[in-house]
């Protein structure tokens, strides 16, 4: 519970007194929950995660509206990601301008809400936290310095809002007609749905998740939002928030509505794989670094979503691994872009070049992160992509051939990005990184290499959760 309330409290404190604090205080605020997340992780023991272990179950508004938190390996991994990245994000993603205090407070509030999303084992709580996590990001996005700020945010808002409404409608139907006014995850899980109900209700949830992930054609909010948001917004959205959608798929869609999977599977699989290719092809042509990363991100999450929908242990575990890895890498890349932009005044490939000459360590870090994103073996991008592609191959070989083109195009756009920013002629100097940026880059590079060698650390922790979710799907007679 501390994981939820501490950041909210910190957010309030920061909103009230933030002008007197610098970002290091925010960093400390954001880092304290990490201690609890790590503690939880160790208490549960890496190999022995227990599914649906209840952390708290208290009557809240009434006996039926309960405050239920749970923990398992899957939740644990996402808590580590959220609370591990958040301190780094408040430290490096927020510019020292008139929005500093506001954006920091919002980011801290989001931290609490995200923790809530990942721990909630109650439909209403999940919905509330889901919405609470979205609100801060709207306001962060609104503070972008772009003529169309309002329009871009509006599009983002409408997409997510409509998705959420669909989920809320499904939830209401379930509570009223199916579970006798209980929102508890276990009750929602245990209810019997007819095929039609499963398709409609599951569709509602799926809608909310598909927008957040995003799966094409629900992605059109993404590129502009990532590109024009302040870094903190791009980082929060891409590194953590889109994992809400993927997490939602695994926790709230698959085991609850397995009857509908057969119905949606072909659609989601083909859309996701199409997204892999679609994002990669567009990324090839981008000049704006942030836009390039936005579309590469679209490509990466498409692969994750496709892996999830293979319903295999390989696909699901690969998906969780890749969620964590993508979070770390994309944060690192956005940070690198932020650094480049601050020091050279541009993040457009047309203006850049030759940064390698004067900035050795930064170059190494940027190259390592880009290789991670291009899934070169011995970096963290490889094992996840390997597992995902393998699961898709086992599902249907032709889809894997299409999705596999990403390993060619991924290399092409990442190397192109390196070429025109770091190499070639140029005299750009990145004077000195501040301590926060330095720490963050070191942390990201460390994890790119460490998880490239020992991805099993993550897989071990989620194995049991994933297996029990697959068991749940099987229990309902789907999957032979």
């Amino acid at each position: 519970m501390i994981l939820i309330f501490l950041p909210v409290l910190a957010s309030i404190i920061f909103a009230l007194f933030g002008r007197k604090f610098n970002q290091w205080i925010a960093f400390v605020f954001a880092a304290i929950p990490m201690i609890f997340a790590v503690n939880l992780f160790y208490k549960s023991g890496p190999g022995s995660s227990f599914l649906l272990n209840t952390l708290a179950d208290l009557p809240w508004l009434s006996q039926n509206f309960r405050f239920t938190l749970g923990y398992d390996g899957l939740t644990g991994m996402l808590l580590l990601l959220t609370n591990g990245l958040l301190p780094l994000i408040v430290l490096t993603g927020i510019k020292d301008d008139e929005n500093r205090v506001r954006n920091t407070a919002l980011a801290l509030a989001m931290q609490g809400a995200l923790n809530g999303v990942f721990m909630a084992r109650d439909g209403l709580m999940f919905y509330i936290f889901w919405e609470l996590a979205l609100l801060p990001i709207y306001f962060i996005t609104l503070s972008m310095k772009h003529g169309n700020a309002f329009k871009i945010t509006l599009r983002f808002f409408l997409f997510t809002f409509i998705g959420s409404l669909a989920m809320l409608a499904s939830l209401m139907y379930i509570v009223i007609f199916k579970t006798n006014f209980s929102f508890a995850y276990s009750d929602i899980l245990a209810a019997n749905y007819t095929l039609n109900e499963s398709i409609w209700l599951g569709g509602g949830f799926l809608m909310a998740f598909a927008v957040k992930i995003p799966i094409i054609p629900f992605h059109s909010w993404q590129a502009d939002t990532y590109t024009h948001s302040p870094s903190v917004g791009s980082m929060l959205l891409s590194a953590i928030m889109l994992k809400m959608g993927l997490y939602g798929l695994i926790r709230w869609y698959l085991p609850v509505f397995p009857e509908s999977i057969e119905y949606y599977k072909p659609i989601v699989l083909s859309l996701s794989v199409a997204g892999v290719l679609y994002g990669a092809i567009i990324a090839l042509r981008q000049q704006d670094l942030k836009r390039l990363i936005a579309f590469s991100s679209l490509s990466h999450v498409g692969l994750i979503a496709a892996g999830i929908f293979t319903l295999s242990a390989t696909g699901l575990e690969g998906a969780v691994l890749q969620m964590i890895v993508h979070g770390i890498n994309v944060f690192g890349l956005f940070l690198a872009i932020e650094i480049i932009e601050t020091h050279t005044g541009s993040r457009n490939l047309v203006d850049l070049g030759g940064l390698a000459k004067n900035n050795r360590w930064f170059t190494i870090a940027f190259v390592v992160m880009a290789l991670g994103a291009a899934a070169v073996p011995l970096t963290n991008g490889f094992p996840g992509e390997f597992l995902l592609l393998k699961s898709i191959f086992d599902e249907r070989a032709t889809l894997a051939v299409i999705a596999g083109i990403t390993i060619i195009l991924g290399a092409a756009y990442m190397l192109r990005m390196l070429q025109f920013s770091l190499f070639g002629e140029g005299d750009g100097v990145i004077k000195s990184l501040n301590l926060g940026q330095l720490i963050s880059l070191v942390v990201v590079v460390f994890f790119v290499l460490f998880l490239g060698l020992f991805p099993q650390v993550i897989l071990d922790s989620v194995q049991l959760s994933i297996n029990s979710i697959i068991e749940m799907i099987k229990a309902k007679g789907v999957l032979s």
């Binding site: 208290l58 054609p217 393998k390 070989a397 070429q419 194995q463």
Partner: protein, 626 residues
């Protein structure tokens, strides 16, 4: 065995991290020592174990374990991987030593050695890994190092382009390889060589599955070993420093595809269709590259096309089922092609970065050691009797003949063209009159000892390499040593060519005569008549087509690269920006209530309203909880 693999990695870390702050000589010595020591350990292990037929296996840790899938980081030093290790670390040592002289003036000295060490490490992963995933690790790793080293002089955008081309083209092959691996796992439930090949050898696998796997793996080999249609990156890769061309793009990395096929002998032995594909692709590549090589004037480009051509010959051998012959040629080729590249590097070094052979000539007197060793390399590759290339090439031709006289004929043509382009280059470079007006002959100098010593060692190996696997007419006591060494590595015994003794002598005579024809013809043209290859603009007809490499690059650009780029632009501009956004926006715009809601969001201090809301919810939660 760990130490063989870890030494180069250690060298990479040391020279990469602290190398910048150490004197150049020290960095060079550290990285060279790392590889030399690695070679020493490998040699020790080879003599202690491999010779006796013992394999050493080692597991470090489990890399991935999901469901029924388990991938170990594990290594096996057997006769095949042991042999490759010796080549990699042995030639690697010489090239490290050479680089200490060649790269002396370069500001990126420490970086160069770091990358070289990293390359050796990855190459060792590739050959020593005991499952397909380790191979894939090394496979991609060497591709990465190749990328880093081709683009080593990163300020030059063209070099950068060549580097990216190499990496991306390799990744096309890698996708094929990866899909092949997935299919292997689907069929055999393992990536482990022993398990997979035992099951394949058992013969219960449907033929079409085997063929599919064999072809997919070969797609990977096409990328790495520069075969049609994925060969165009290799000539461009000459943008990298010359030692890199010698080590990566001639002696070791490009032979990874050959290694993969030999390793998977159990598979290819049983798939006639895939073997035929390999043979014809190899043959086509060999001929096409040899023809292009005839009209190149950049000393490194000639050697690059020659490498592509020789690799093609190795694949012809593999396609004919002559796995040992391919490995034999791989070995001798590693010797003489490394020698030739290093020799060309010595020329380039002595001529202050001139690579155009039309601007050379008469270097013989100024660079005696380079001249002499280059001559040996040229003779070895063109098949001068009793030098290494003579034996290895003849073994391939013999197998080709026993497979089909047509294949033999075409291979012989390719082999004879080798003679033409090599002697053309050799005579134009070292004989005749000096032709460079910008760089006076007096300034041309022989290279330092660190560079000439490796040349001399490689020259000895190029001469003696043939002793490894002498043909049977030398008597059974000495002949076929390499064949019997590799024989236990095969699941199925190799066919020996069914050719009568008289035919064999005829084949031999044919091979020697094409060598003589090429030698005499080129000598007449470039020494007796003293002619010089024409300038680019005066070319016409077939010569121009060859000089322009059959316009394959242009065709790829127009046929593949441009369409993808156009697709990107169109998708981004039309589909994504206008169509999808347009549709979704118009849906969003219609309901009035949403816009009125949002206009409220727009005005002013809404963020504080939000924070208050969060506070309110929190308080509500808290009250109810406690």
């Amino acid at each position: 065995m760990s130490i063989i693999i870890l030494l180069p990695l250690l060298g990479f870390l040391v020279s990469g991290i602290v190398g910048k702050y150490l004197p150049k000589q020290v960095v060079g010595l550290i990285s060279t020592a790392a590889v030399v020591l690695s070679f020493a350990f490998a040699l020790h292990m080879f003599l202690e174990k491999s010779i006796l037929g013992e394999a050493v296996s080692q597991k470090w840790f489990t890399f991935l374990q999901v469901g029924g899938l388990q991938i170990d980081v594990a290594f096996t030093f057997d006769r095949l991987s042991g042999w490759m290790t010796l080549i990699i670390t042995g030639i690697g040592s010489l090239i490290h030593l050479y680089s200490m002289g060649y790269m002396k003036e370069d500001e990126g000295y420490y970086k160069f050695f770091a990358y070289l060490n990293l390359f050796v490490f990855n190459m060792l992963l590739l050959v020593l890994g005991s499952n397909f995933i380790m191979l894939f690790f090394g496979w991609e790793g060497v591709g990465l190092c190749s990328y880093l080293l081709i683009g080593f002089w990163y300020k030059n955008l063209n070099y950068g382009k060549a580097a990216r081309k190499a990496f991306v083209m390799n990744r096309i092959g890698d996708l094929g390889l990866l899909l092949g691996l997935f299919l292997i796992f689907k069929e055999f439930k393992s990536f482990d060589y022993t398990i997979v090949f035992d099951q394949i050898a058992a013969g219960n696998t449907p033929a079409h599955v085997l063929t599919a796997i064999a072809l997919l793996l070969f797609v990977g080999a096409m990328g790495k070993s520069a075969q049609i249609p994925l060969y165009t990156w290799l000539p461009d890769a000459m943008a990298g420093p010359t030692p890199v061309s010698a080590l990566i793009h001639a002696a070791t990395m490009v032979t990874a595809g050959v290694y993969l096929v030999v390793r998977s002998q159990a598979l290819y032995f049983q798939t006639a269709l895939a073997s035929d594909v390999i043979m014809w692709v190899g043959l086509a590549t060999s001929l096409m590259a040899a023809l292009i090589g005839l009209k190149q004037n950049d000393i490194k480009k000639v050697l690059a096309y020659s490498t592509v051509s020789q690799l093609g010959l190795m694949f012809v051998a593999l396609g004919c089922g002559a796995y040992t012959a391919a490995m034999f040629h791989l070995t001798t080729h590693a010797f003489f092609k490394a020698l030739l590249f290093l020799g060309s590097g010595s020329v380039i070094h002595g001529m202050h970065h001139e690579q155009d052979i039309r601007k050379m000539g008469g270097l013989k007197s100024k660079m005696p050691i380079t001249y002499f060793t280059f001559l040996i390399g040229t003779l070895a590759i063109t098949g001068f009797p009793f030098l290494s290339g003579f034996f290895s090439k003849d073994e391939i031709l013999l197998h080709a003949f026993s497979h089909s006289p047509l294949v033999w004929g075409l291979s012989l043509i390719s082999a004879s063209i080798t003679g033409f382009y090599m002697f053309r280059m050799f005579f134009v470079t070292f004989h005749g009159k000096y032709r460079n007006t910008h760089y006076p002959l007096e300034k041309v100098h022989e290279s330092p000892i660190t560079m000439t010593l490796p040349l001399l060692i490689l020259a000895v190996l190029s001469v003696l390499g043939g002793l490894l696997n002498l043909p049977h007419y030398f008597g059974h006591n000495v002949a076929g040593a390499f064949s019997s060494y590799l024989a236990p590595m095969y699941k199925f015994a190799e066919h020996s060519p069914e050719v009568s003794a008289s035919t064999e002598w005829l084949l031999l005579a044919a091979a020697v005569s094409v060598f003589i024809i090429a030698f005499v013809a080129m000598r007449m043209k470039y020494i007796s008549k003293n002619s010089v290859p024409e300038e680019d603009d005066s070319m016409s007809g077939l010569g121009k087509v060859l000089a322009n490499k059959f316009y394959v690059d242009e065709i790829y650009d127009a046929g593949v690269v441009a369409p993808i780029e156009i697709a990107g632009t169109v998708t981004d501009g039309l589909v994504d920006d206008i169509a999808i956004k347009g549709i979704t926006d118009s849906i969003g715009k219609s309901p009035n209530w949403i816009s009125s809601l949002l206009s409220r969001v727009q005005n002013g201090n809404i963020e504080y309203y939000l924070i208050y809301m969060v506070i309110a919810v929190s308080i509500l939660l808290a009250i109810n909880l406690f």
